[in-house]
């Protein structure tokens, strides 16, 4: 049975599998191209997407039933499907970051809000909005955006603990809390540093530097395990 050589369309699909999927990775590197082709071949064989009558790749046919089954199998496993769809996530982040960078550089808060709409659970944009408001002297709006960021971080932490079945007294709950809040503070620190570097003579530079000192204190306290948003988590706090 050699349907791949009888039907050009099947041959093209085979080309997709072996050339489009994998060969472009290392086109300019002879060793790399071989590696990529070998890995493509091994992957397709491992998944039984191709059947070969010999060790030569030219003697292989596409296994349509296996291909369909694999496709449906991946589609029916939400976890696997999400993992192989991460290209969409990267694209969203790139789009949102481009908007945020533009908004941050020009002082256009609306651009940052558009970025936040693309990634509504991502608190890094709220931190940037908060810092930008602060640089413009709008302390009330800055605080509101900071509260939004903190609420998103807490929601993320709550969802993690719930799904993992962790009580607040569990040591892993404390670690998850520290990780979440460190992320929150780190994004604020980065936004503050970026704006201070960008506008070293800003009218409200004192406010920005004060916030930078404050957030660094929060991070130190968090890492030291002293009183912090995570004091209520872990064996001693639950």
């Amino acid at each position: 049975m050699n349907t791949a050589t009888q039907l050009p369309s099947l041959k093209r699909i085979a080309i997709v599998l072996f050339l489009v999927l994998l060969t472009p990775l290392l086109t300019a590197c002879e060793e790399g191209s071989d590696l990529f082709f070998d890995m493509a071949f091994e992957w397709a064989q491992g998944k039984e997407l191709i059947t070969c009558s010999s060790g030569d790749s030219e003697d292989c046919d596409l296994n349509w039933a296996a291909l369909g089954g694999y496709w449906l199998g991946v589609g029916s496993d939400a976890g696997v499907q999400a993992m192989v769809d991460t290209g969409l996530v990267v694209r969203d982040i790139n789009t949102a970051d481009a908007l945020a960078d533009e908004g941050f550089a020009t002082g256009d808060i609306q651009k940052l809000q558009e970025a936040s709409k693309i990634r509504p659970n991502d608190w890094s944009y709220d931190q940037q909005i908060s810092v930008l408001h602060l640089s413009q002297g709008d302390i009330q709006e800055s605080s509101a955006a900071q509260l939004d960021a903190e609420a998103k971080a807490q929601n993320h932490l709550d969802a993690t603990l719930k799904e993992e079945g962790l009580g607040s007294g569990d040591p892993q709950a404390h670690a998850a809390c520290v990780s979440t809040y460190f992320n929150l503070y780190k994004h604020r620190e980065e936004a503050l540093i970026a704006l201070i570097d960008q506008e070293p003579n800003a009218e409200n530079l004192g406010l920005l530097i004060g916030q930078l000192d404050l957030v660094r204190t929060h991070m130190t306290v968090l890492e030291a395990g002293a009183a912090s948003p995570c004091a209520g988590y872990g064996p001693g706090g639950g």
Binding site: R12, I15, V16, V20, L21, P24, L25, L26, T27, A28, C29, E31, G32, S33, L35, M39, E42, W43, Q45, G46, K47, L67, Y70, L72, V74, G75, S76, A78, G79, V80, Q81, A82, M83, V84, D85, T86, G87, L88, V89, V90, D92, I93, R119, N121, D122, S124, A153, H156, A159, T160, K162, E163, E164, L166, A175, A176, S179, N183, K186, H187
Partner: protein, 187 residues
């Protein structure tokens, strides 16, 4: 009557063929609708939901440093918390339009080891690894993903490359989309 003696068209056979075709179309429609219904009711959260959290800036910077240390131009990393799990995914974007040309077996192995070392030393809690591969136009061609444990077993020599790949999954939708692009481009 002469009309009665004329041969009748083979209507019975034609009807059977028509009914067979209709039946086949109906069956296909039922299967397609069934799959859509099952997907609608039983599918879990999608990638945008699962990876909606804020990227980990420390882990992201560390992995990008590892990529730079290995001279991998056009490669970048992003570490994102997994919603509902106490773990993170490391997404590597390999972009031909940004100059990515690959690494070879030695480079692949060295990078895999450094990724695992960075993860354990930094306590980044990376449990999944995905590769977002982009072609010359910068658009995603395909995405492959595996779990950290599989990668670790491969790096430690506990499983072969074939066994590691057998635990790797790929996005076939993108693969077929790429097929259309390449078909239009000519053979």
């Amino acid at each position: 009557m002469s009309e009665e003696t004329q041969p009748q068209p083979r209507r019975g056979c034609w009807h059977v063929i028509k009914l067979g075709c209709l039946g086949l179309i109906g069956l296909i429609a039922v299967v397609v609708v069934g799959v859509l219904v099952v997907n609608a009711f039983f599918s879990g959260p999608d990638a945008r939901e699962v990876y909606s959290g804020t990227p980990d800036p420390v882990a992201t910077a560390r992995l990008n440093q590892e990529l730079a240390n290995h001279g991998l131009t056009g490669a970048s990393a992003l570490v994102i918390p997994i919603k509902g799990q106490n773990g993170q995914i490391a997404i590597f974007t390999l972009d031909e339009s940004q100059g990515f040309q690959g690494s070879g077996q030695a480079g692949l192995d060295a990078f895999t080891r450094s990724l695992l070392t960075a993860n354990s030393e930094g306590g980044h809690n990376i449990s999944q690894v995905a590769v977002d591969y982009r072609g010359p136009d910068g658009e995603n061609l395909f995405t492959v993903a595996t779990d950290q444990a599989t990668l670790e077993a491969y790096a430690n020599g506990q499983i072969t490359r074939q066994e590691m790949l057998a635990n790797t999954d790929a996005n076939l939708s993108n693969l077929l989309a790429a097929f259309d692009i390449y078909q239009e481009g000519g053979q």
